[in-house]
Amino acid sequence: MSRRPGSRPIPLALTALVALFSAVAALAVSNGMDMSHSRDHHRHTHVHLHERPAHATR
């Protein structure tokens, strides 16, 4: 397999740009999921701590 003389492959700079964009998007999605998980955990903990005295007074 070889390319014809007139044809040009995707420039390596464009390939690198795609890789960089993918990395940034992956970090954004990954951090977003972590923050969502952390917020849910915090809310769950807060509710749990808030409810504990009510149970204790019964």
């Binding site: 397999m1 070889s2 390319r3 014809r4 044809s7 492959p9 995707i10 390596l12 390939t15 690198a16 795609v18 890789a19 960089l20 964009f21 993918s22 990395a23 940034v24 992956a26 970090l27 999605v29 990954s30 999921m33």
Partner: protein
């Protein structure tokens, strides 16, 4: 640009997307353990090498390597979410959207790269053509 060249470009882009995602997730996996992090670094390096090789010297060997790397990454993830990967990632990983997206992109690259391979076993030869005529 021919259809075959377009398919090689698709494989190059898939390598770039997968390499970027693996590079971004490598530090997070180093927190889980050095072998898991090193696995991600190795995947990133292999995918980057493939992208460069397919850009400058597209060959059957490079396409075969792409098929092998994509297959390996997909099988590794399947093991990671079911039984865990021995040594690299012994604990089972939870399934998440980003990983599924990455595997879908790699599966596309695998299919496109495999379709561009010209395996001698499946190529009709002149002798076979003559034999069928008699």
């Amino acid at each position: 640009m021919s259809f075959a060249e377009l398919r090689v470009d698709v494989v190059i882009l898939v390598c770039a997307i997968s390499a970027g995602i693996h590079a971004a997730l490598a530090p997070e996996h180093f927190h889980e353990g050095a072998p898991a992090g090193l696995g991600f670094v190795a995947a990133t390096a292999l995918l980057a090498l493939l992208a460069v090789a397919l850009t400058y010297r597209p060959s059957q060997a490079a396409l075969l390597a792409a098929v092998a790397v994509f297959s390996g990454l997909i099988v590794s993830y399947a093991l990671a979410v079911t039984t865990g990967v021995p040594v690299l990632h012994p604990e089972r990983e939870t399934v998440d959207g980003l990983a599924l997206f990455t595997k879908a992109v790699e599966a596309l690259g695998l299919v496109v790269a495999a379709s561009e391979l010209q395996l001698p076993a499946f190529r009709p030869t002149a002798r076979a053509a003559r034999g069928s005529a008699t």
